[in-house]
């Protein structure tokens, strides 16, 4: 095998990895702050993609307006779901998980009812379809955009979390909810804010994922949502740098597996699940062994 082929796979892997990382961060923010595995995250992703598609095809809006409006609506949906479905269940541990699953199930089927389950073309700006060539390595523009946007999103997030007042409040709540409350932090506001961040990441991730794989149906969110979740667990769920590394590792290894062992392609989801289970069993703190509070295990 040639060096160029390796570089080619590396480039694809980095793009897929950044996508997974972007979505994984959405899971991790929620888990860090609320201690909830938000299984409906993949569905927020799907909703964002659907709304953007609907905006461009039906209204019709230019893509950037449609993407922006779709992000706003997805964020509002996230806030609504948090308030109506998750907040009342916050005290009851396992029920909150059933709540998250039923929200995911509800959104999927709501969109089947509204838009049928046929998959449709996702409208994206045309320049993303172009391909740049460097010798024998060809890089689709969409991959470059994915990496740049993900890096930008990550920088903004780390600024918010480390520098702003809200970010400090988020860290305080994730360390110790009760102590944070005693210090005058309103946990409801912090949790709402973390849902805003998480759904924004889901929406941006969705636009880029669906530009790369340009089909949307009500189950679009399931697979990337799941992979990103596995990435988040690999990096240590609750840790933002962990989600980044975990998502990257999973994306890269998936592309490398498919590239170098093409016969194993149909086994890649099995490997992903196996990685998930092995991490849960032997290293629930993820690659960096993030400290996990007793009640989380």
């Amino acid at each position: 095998m040639s060096f160029e082929l390796f570089v080619q796979y590396l480039v694809n892997g980095v793009a897929l990895g950044s996508l997974y990382a972007l979505v994984a961060i959405g899971y991790t923010i929620i888990y860090g702050v609320v201690n909830l595995m938000n299984m409906a995250h993949g569905e927020f992703f799907m909703v964002a993609a659907f709304l953007a598609m609907w905006g461009v095809n039906k209204l019709p809006l230019p893509w950037y307006v449609a993407y922006a409006i779709s992000t706003v609506i997805t964020v509002l949906l996230g806030l609504f779901v948090e308030k109506v479905a998750y907040r009342p269940l916050r005290k009851v541990k396992v029920s909150s998980f059933i709540g998250a699953i039923s929200v995911s199930f509800l959104l999927q089927n709501l969109f089947v009812v509204l838009f049928t389950s046929r998959s449709k073309q996702f409208p994206h700006p045309e320049f993303l379809d172009e391909v740049l060539h460097f010798g024998n390595v060809s890089i689709p523009v969409v991959n470059i955009v994915i990496v740049i946007v993900s890096a930008g999103m990550f920088l903004i997030l780390s600024y918010i979390v480390s520098k702003t007042k809200m970010g400090r409040a988020m860290r305080a709540v994730s360390k110790d909810l009760e102590a944070a409350q005693l210090m005058g932090i309103n946990p409801d506001r912090v949790i709402s804010f973390s849902f805003i961040l998480s759904t924004t990441f889901a929406a941006v991730g969705a636009f880029m994922y669906c530009s790369k794989f340009p089909y949307v149906d009500p189950f679009t969110g399931a697979i990337p949502g799941l992979k990103a979740f596995i990435g988040a667990v690999m990096g240590g769920i609750g840790s933002i740098p962990g989600a980044l590394v975990g998502g990257f590792t999973l994306g890269l290894s998936e592309i490398m597996l498919v590239g170098f062992l093409p016969t194993m392609t149909s086994y890649r989801d099995i490997f992903a699940y196996l990685i998930l289970i092995l991490f849960l069993l032997f290293r629930p703190g993820g690659i960096f062994n993030v400290k996990i509070r007793e009640e989380k295990v």
Binding site: G99, F105, Q108, N109, D269, L276, L280
Partner: protein
């Protein structure tokens, strides 16, 4: 007559009545009604086994779909004739033991249960070390791995094509009998000292350990017994469907069982039986809404997906507002019925 004897007689009589009814129904009801009763019985088996692990032992496992697949495939591969298998395996010919074997129904069913119990042990032994969400994710992962392995093993289970023309051995009496058997075993188990230990594990693991309950042993016991019945249920499921493929056993099947269990009340077998009936009937009623039809020249397009939407909304509402479900942890008992009858007759005499 002693009250205890009376209750035993009442139980035996009602079992006999149910079995007789199922025997009668086979010849007198139409195939659609029989199918509904059949599904009811299978769902009762699924819900009772779900309750054993979640409701009584407090271990939230979402592995039902994968375990049911093990039972379904085992029984189908054993009862299909070698010729039928040769015909339907056109991606790759079946490998040796599968290509020649053909068993009668009952041993196949038992083997399906036993094999599923073994798989349940293999899944449970590592996964039950985890708690709460982590256990749930791990079992869901195992369930999906089983399904994906089925897709990827064309020479054992015909891959994604699935199996067709599974002969129909189990009649309604079989299903009714097995459903009663499942409920009976689960009930006896949770009322035994094992069951009390399981409830203790559910309430407080540290306290349970402190009073000498072996946590892991009781968790795995509940899980393996539950898996055995899931395997039996899966086998009957394959029998009634006649055609199975890996997509039959997507996590949706587990969600359906979870919806039924939550609807009935996770600590109530009576609730589970009622909820299974409600789910079966609702599922059929909503199927009507999904199919397009014409009412007097009025075109009704039919709304695909509506059924699942209704169930999703129902699950969310249950979790938000009625976490105890229909029955909570109450059970039907002869004592309750007898006291009600006595009170009514007394009331009748006085007036």
């Amino acid at each position: 007559m002693e009250k205890k004897q009376l209750k035993t007689i009442l139980s035996l009589v009602s079992v006999a009545v149910i079995l007789f009814f199922s025997f009668w129904a086979e010849d007198h009801l139409d195939s659609y009604q029989i199918r509904l009763l059949y599904m009811w019985g299978i769902y009762v088996i699924f819900v009772a086994s779900f309750n054993l692990v979640y409701g009584y032992t407090g271990q939230f496992s979402m592995g039902h779909a994968g375990l049911a697949a093990v039972g379904a495939y085992t029984v189908s591969l054993l009862i299909l004739s070698p010729e039928a298998k040769q015909l339907s395996f056109f991606i790759a010919p079946p490998i040796w033991p599968i290509s020649v074997v053909q068993w009668p129904f009952l041993p196949s069913l038992i083997l399906a249960g036993v094999l599923t119990a073994i798989v349940g042990f293999l899944i449970g032994a590592p996964a039950l070390r985890l708690r709460g969400d982590y256990l749930l994710i791990a079992t869901l992962g195992f369930s999906e791995i089983i399904r994906l392995l089925l897709c990827n093993m064309p020479s054992i289970c015909n891959g994604a094509m699935g199996l067709k023309g599974i002969p129909h051995h189990a009649n309604l009496t079989w299903v009714a009998g097995l459903a009663i058997f499942t409920v009976f075993v689960v009930k006896r188990l949770v009322d035994s000292s094992y069951g009390r230990a399981m409830r203790c594990v559910k309430e407080d693991e540290i306290a349970a350990e402190a009073v000498g309950v072996n946590l892991f042993y009781h968790k795995i016991l509940a899980f393996v017994i539950s898996s055995f019945f899931v395997g039996i249920g899966g086998a009957l499921f394959a029998e009634v469907l006649g055609t199975i493929d890996p997509n039959t056993f997507k996590p949706y099947l587990t969600y359906a069982v979870m919806i039924m269990a939550v609807l009935g009340g996770v600590e109530s077998l009576t609730g589970g039986i009622i909820a299974a009936a409600v789910y079966t009937v609702m599922s059929e009623l909503l199927r009507v809404v999904e199919t397009p039809r014409t009412f007097f020249s009025l075109e009704y397009p039919g709304i695909p997906g509506l059924r699942m939407l209704v169930f999703a909304v129902m699950l969310l509402l249950l979790i938000l507002f009625a976490r105890k479900g229909l029955m909570g942890d109450r059970e039907f008992s002869w004592d309750w019925l007898l006291s009600k009858v006595q009170r009514d007759t007394k009331g009748g005499q006085e007036s």
